[in-house]
């Protein structure tokens, strides 16, 4: 049904979108020979000298592996998106977000300073939020985007806390220095706390139990985004951090226990749940949970085989999972549905997609000759060397892998074989831009399976060496002889076949368990969110019933109370009255201001009240001028003018919309009293402040250096644009944001009538 659209790819200039990822990939690939030899590239720019924070970056074996995955998947996903999103009205926004995400992700894996890593970490969270919510007209997309933001953003806070604790424990923030960390750190009293923070950060980002629920929901994102962010790159950021932390924090039972158990549970649960949904993308999301769980489980260990297993499986998983997601996107795009029960018999219509899916699925199932087989061999070798709970880890890996085998078989069988529903009769194959990615990745699944030795030597070994010091040799082969890992591999295939056969029964059992569970992670999330909203409303409603007058009175009165309390408790001193009489001119202006204030309070005509308010402001400006502050007077006068215009506009609109715009007489004396109280207190305060000796150090500094250092004679302006320009930068950002917020509110009110 969408075949006509999919073949139209706009002007050739759109292919420029390929440039960023292609350039980065080429550059990284050109540097691979260096990283194989162990050469490390790095650099540092000063960012904040006072805080000791520098923009330090470093490209070692691990960064190289991640960088190649990120930029390589970036190229294929961009090419795919060029066709997938052709003609979408927000195409430019999409590509801007995609490229930004690519750079942020590269930032994570290239950062050598933990604070820098944190910043890029948060950037990926925000960009992921925007990308999941890309189809923002749909309620569910917005809801799921918000969920992902809250969960991973909460983890970001934990990371920040962990970072600060590390700093106070005296650990260097430079990641490369962790490789030969001081041994004594595990006894530090902050160690358990730091570990906890880091685990929360990793478990939320990499969707580990009980935070796993956001990942399947994130499938509201466009499919290429799911392939890129939620299988190959972003969810691996947590794994990356675990790898970097491994030499510093790893090796204790406190490290191994949570990782092995949580990782194992996530792998098992994710794999089993993958049997449940009929939505193709949700199936893949659950298999991703399984992959991430296994990675976490292996990073719990400290033996070389376990770490080797984690690193190899990382690449195995990225290859087959990205391919499967992209293929799922093709099916969705070409048929209009991605529900497995509505698909079937598409093998003849989508031959290339079927081929790519088959290659990737067989790799996922771990069939011999595929890269997934090598990965699984290493997995079992690694799992047998776990120090803590080796039996649990072995069973978890075996059963989870068997589920994967079953899911693979189902993924090949269901869409491409069997009976074809009539609705799918005129399905046609996707254009080459969309086929390139899955086919290439599927091909790599085979190629890497045939030359595992080369892959390990060029990619895996340098990566492992970057976070693990060892002298042992690493070797991978197609056939190791009959040993325990091989037997486990065979058991996996048999068990997988069994699971596929008993699919329906397993699915029913899963539903039953779901019903038995008292609370899920997602349920807890919903409860917490609702509680936060309720308590916020409970705190705000007593003071804010929607009437600005009441709101203003509460705020002003509270402010007065605070000031008066401080004044009373600090002795309640009265200031000496000024000895001289005020000059005639000032007295006249004050009299005018007082009369105008009375008019504001007591007139019944709003236009008169507004005009009188203007007189008050202008009077204040005149006094500033007479006191020798022309800058202040100028600004006051201008602000006053614009305020009048805005109030007038608002009042006219209110009258138009038949809301009350005439001043109400009720509470008038109360308001006058409050105003008087505030005015008197402020006057008292000003007299107290000016009556005491002022510290003139700061004034003196500005007077001395304004012209010498900042080339300006207008001290006020020099302070604004030079001495304290960082404050000004913040302020103008706030001004612009406030304006945008006001417009959004106005637009919403207009739509609601």
């Amino acid at each position: 049904m969408t075949s006509a659209q999919s073949s139209t790819v706009g002007g050739p200039l759109r292919y420029l979108h390929l440039l960023p990822s292609l350039l980065i990939f080429t550059l990284l690939a050109a540097l691979v020979p260096h990283s194989v030899r162990g050469t490390v590239f790095g650099g540092e720019w000063i960012w904040s000298h006072g805080l000791g924070v520098h923009l330090a970056w470093r490209l070692d074996g691990l960064s190289m592996l991640f960088g190649l995955i990120i930029s390589g998947a970036g190229v294929l996903v961009t090419l795919y998106s060029l066709s997938y999103l052709a003609g979408h009205p927000h195409e430019n926004r999409y590509f801007l977000l995609l490229h930004s995400f690519l750079l942020a992700m590269l930032g994570i894996v290239l950062a050598d300073h933990l604070l820098l890593l944190f910043i890029f970490w948060e950037l990926t969270t925000v960009l992921s939020f925007l990308l999941i919510g890309f189809y923002h007209e749909e309620d569910s997309a917005r809801e799921n985007a918000r969920q992902a933001l809250f969960v991973t953003g909460g983890g970001g806070l934990a990371l920040l806390l962990g970072l600060l604790l590390l700093e106070s424990a005296g650990v260097t923030p430079y990641l490369h220095a962790w490789l030969d960390a001081p041994r004594g750190f595990h006894e530090h009293r902050l160690y358990p706390l730091i570990l906890g923070c880091m685990f929360v950060a990793v478990f939320t980002k990499s969707a580990q139990f009980p935070f796993h629920f956001w990942l399947p929901n994130a499938m509201s994102a466009p499919t290429p985004i799911s392939a890129f962010l939620h299988s190959a790159t972003m969810v691996k950021a947590g794994i990356y951090l675990l790898m970097r932390l491994h030499p510093l924090l790893g090796g204790t039972y406190l490290w191994m226990g949570p990782l092995v158990v949580i990782g194992g549970v996530t792998a098992l649960w994710g794999a089993w749940c993958a049997m449940g949904p009929s939505d193709l993308k949700r199936v893949l999301a659950h298999t991703t949970l399984m992959g991430l769980g296994l990675l976490t489980l292996f990073l719990g260990g400290r033996s070389l085989p376990a770490l080797l297993a984690a690193t190899t499986f990382l690449l195995v998983h990225a290859l087959y999972k990205a391919a499967l997601f992209l293929a799922a996107g093709i099916i969705d795009h070409q048929t209009g549905t991605r529900r497995l029960d509505e698909l079937g018999g598409l093998g003849r219509h989508l031959p290339w997609t079927a081929a790519a899916t088959a290659l990737a699925s067989l790799s996922m199932a771990g069939f011999p000759l595929f890269f997934g087989f090598i990965g699984k061999e290493i997995l079992y070798k690694g799992v047998l060397t776990e120090e803590l709970f080796p039996h649990f880890a072995t069973v978890a890996a075996l059963v989870a892998n068997a589920f994967m085998t079953a899911v693979s078989g189902y993924l090949i069988w269901r869409p491409f074989f069997g009976h074809r529903p009539e609705a799918l009769d005129d399905t046609s194959e996707a254009p080459w831009q969309m086929l390139a990615g899955p086919l290439l990745l599927g091909g790599l699944c085979v190629l890497f399976g045939l030359i595992p030795g080369w892959v390990v030597a060029t990619l895996i070994e340098p990566a492992v060496m970057s976070f693990h010091l060892t002298d042992d040799n690493i070797e991978l082969a197609l056939f190791h002889g009959i040993n325990a890992p091989l037997l486990l591999s065979i058991a996996t295939l048999i068990l997988g076949g069994l699971f596929l056969w008993q699919r329906e029964r397993l699915r029913r059992l899963l539903t039953a368990i779901h019903r038995l569970l008292p609370i899920s992670g997602e349920g807890a999330y919903a409860i917490i969110l609702a509680a936060v909203q309720r308590s916020a409303a409970g705190a705000a409603l007593p003071f804010d019933r929607g009437r600005p007058q009441t709101h203003a009175a509460v705020v002003l009165f509270t402010g007065w109370l605070a000031v008066a309390a401080v004044w009373l408790f600090s002795g309640g001193r009265l200031p000496p009255l000024p000895a001289t009489n005020p000059p005639l001119l000032e007295s006249g202006i004050v009299a005018v201001v007082v009369v105008a204030t009375g008019l504001v309070l007591f007139t019944r005509r709003s236009i008169l009240a507004i005009a009188a308010l203007g007189v008050v402001g202008a009077g204040a400006a005149l006094i500033y001028l007479l006191m020798g502050a022309p800058d202040l007077a100028l600004t006051q006068l201008l602000v006053e003018t614009l305020t009048l215009v805005i109030i007038t506009l608002v009042l006219i609109r209110l009258r138009k919309s038949k809301l009350t715009a005439t001043p109400r007489s009720s509470g008038r004396y109360f308001k006058a009293g409050l105003a008087l109280l505030l005015g008197a207190t402020l006057t008292l305060l000003m007299l107290l402040v000016t009556g005491s000796e002022l510290d003139r150090d700061v004034t003196h500094f500005f007077e001395t250096y304004s012209y010498v250092a900042a080339h300006g004679r207008n001290i006020v302006n020099v302070i604004l644009v030079d001495f304290r320009s960082f404050d000004t930068l913040g302020e103008i950002v706030v001004v612009v944001l406030a304006a945008l917020g006001a417009v959004a509110l106005l637009r919403r009110m207009k739509e609601q009538g």
Partner: protein
């Protein structure tokens, strides 16, 4: 508002007000004025314009959405700040290009002026965004 006097007067005034705003912006470093005050002055100029002629001609004159003006202002201020790190100094360091003494007196250009232009555009854009939306509400 449909009055001939206001329309004719505003046509003369708006230009003068905008020139005055630029004058305030440029003299700000040595005398009262500066980006913020200049933006307020320019804002009142546009207010006069839309009170006399309606908002459509104002939007046409601006050519871009006022929010883009604000965004451009933020970018300009940020650029002024980033010139520091680009030349190896901390963010927002004031850099000066002194043209020395000329017939017009000492002319000094620096990143603070560029920063002030950013403030001007950001504040003006914000004011116009809100006021035009209010007027069209």
């Amino acid at each position: 508002m449909n009055t001939l006097i206001l329309k004719v007067a505003s046509r003369l005034m708006v230009g003068l007000i905008l020139i005055f705003a630029i004058y305030l912006l440029l003299r700000g470093h040595h005398s009262p004025g500066g980006g913020f005050a200049a933006a307020l002055v320019a804002g009142t100029g546009f207010v006069l314009y839309f009170i006399a002629e309606g908002t459509a001609p104002v939007r046409r004159t601006l050519r871009v959405h006022p929010a883009s003006v604000a965004g451009l202002g933020l970018l300009t201020a940020l650029t002024a700040g980033l010139l520091g790190p680009l030349s190896g100094r901390p963010f927002l360091t004031g850099l000066w290009l002194s043209a020395g003494n000329t017939a017009l007196g000492a002319i000094e250009l620096g990143t603070p002026l560029l920063f002030d232009v950013g403030v001007f555009l950001a504040v003006l854009g914000a004011i116009l965004t809100v006021l035009l939306a209010l007027e069209e509400f």
